[in-house]
């Protein structure tokens, strides 16, 4: 138990330090990532990037919410990816 508390404390301090250092704002490089880029780089961390034609706009809307929660995508990331998939299907 003590170990968990110590490790979590260290992790929390690191996060808070990094957050305050960067003012908790995404960098310009992060903001500049397109939906296609996020789709190609993020989906592949677990599975092959989905073919946009696999689902309808409505289905992508549902699948995107599932992935936002399951894969811990930020609101900005999932918005861009969903727009890309719905435009490319």
């Amino acid at each position: 138990m003590k170990k968990i508390i110590i490790i979590l404390s260290i992790v929390t301090v690191v996060i808070m330090g990094a957050t305050s250092f960067n003012s908790c704002k995404p960098s310009e490089a992060v903001m500049a990532r397109s939906g296609a880029q996020i789709w190609g780089e993020t989906c592949i961390r677990c599975h092959n990037p989905a073919d946009p034609a696999s689902f309808s706009d409505t289905e992508w809307d549902v699948a995107a919410m599932h992935m936002q929660i399951r894969a811990n995508l930020t609101a900005d990331e999932i918005k861009k990816v969903t727009e890309f998939l719905q435009s490319a299907n």
Binding site: S23, P26, V30, C46, N48, T58, I69, N72
Partner: protein, 412 residues
Amino acid sequence: MENFKKIAIGGFSLIMALSFSVNAQDTTSTFDRQAEQNNPSNIDMKPGKSKMMLRGYYHTGFENTTMGDESDNQFNFGNIAPILMYKQSDKLFFEAEFEGEFEDGEFHWTVEYADVSYILNDYMTVRAGKFILPFGTFMEKLHPAWINRLATRPLGFGHDGIAPSSDVGVELRGAFHTGSIKLNYQAYVVNGPRLKTGMDEPDEAGMLMFGMGAFGDNNNNKAFGGRLGVLPFTNSSLELGFSGMTAKVGDKETIYEDVRANLYALDLNYVKNLNFIKSVVDIKGQYNYSQVDDANYTVPDDTLGLYYDFNNVSTAYYAQVSIRPSMSGNNLLRKLELVGRYSVMETPEGSLWESNPTQTAIGLNYWIDWRTVLKFGYQTTDGGSGGHSEEGEESVESPTANMFYVHLAIGF
């Protein structure tokens, strides 16, 4: 009396006439509505606020296993896992996965998870129900057959594993960027694992039982845990994660009531397109550590009331590398993937379930499309199913088990 009869008959006739009229209108309008909805040009024109989707996966295959002098080969039904996803609004989401497989000659359905999520804000989602625990990444993100690069799980996961799978409770999760670094987190409270005391299965005394949360809590102490993931690069190619869980695991009002378990996991995930070899390289790994407080367990078949104990620490880890030339000019090469995995599990010395298996697995995958894969694999496991033949005697080690398999997995 006569007037009453006339009024009654008249009223009944009027009600019947109105009823037929209303039904006729309803039939017509229902027919029109269905015709309108079935018109292909109207599909997706005006989607409702609530949306539902049925997805899932299935896998099946052929396996040939040899252990010592014994050999066995069979077609394997595998399992089917339909997933229901329901988006009620931009904030509210429900999902459930049902897993069906044959076990002991009968087909069983189980609920892998069923949970409701509510998006509180851009950085925070709360969910409740039965969910897969974020203990590392394998169980939560990588175990589905169409995602897992091999047809088997690494040592330490699944039945008799040391890593938790799913449980019932409440979880808070989210992700955010700070500069170029992305952080994600999960924190949860669940019913928690249970300690096997050896009363039902003497050979498994001291082992933890996971996934029992749906059946209730065996004590009033809840398990607390969470995971923190760090993606240091803008392109999300690398993720490092730390997970932990702590809980009292013994049944209440027994001598095991205060026995506590502490579990940790470290995970790594690196996936990158390497242009110079025109391939995607995928490296994954997870280290699991489980420590349960010392406790006395009854010696099996003993009539004198003798007890034994042991240092109840278990570890397991795996490392996996796969490479797929997905940028090759050759169409066949683009669909092929080579994968190798090494995993080790070490259970407590002195326990009746002591074993130190190591497993090496290699595979060649043919991707029919992005979510359908044909897997050819071979794995060899040494030192499995150990333990003591009897109290105090030397441990018994199983012979090497080898398996060749061909599996087909489809995500739908």
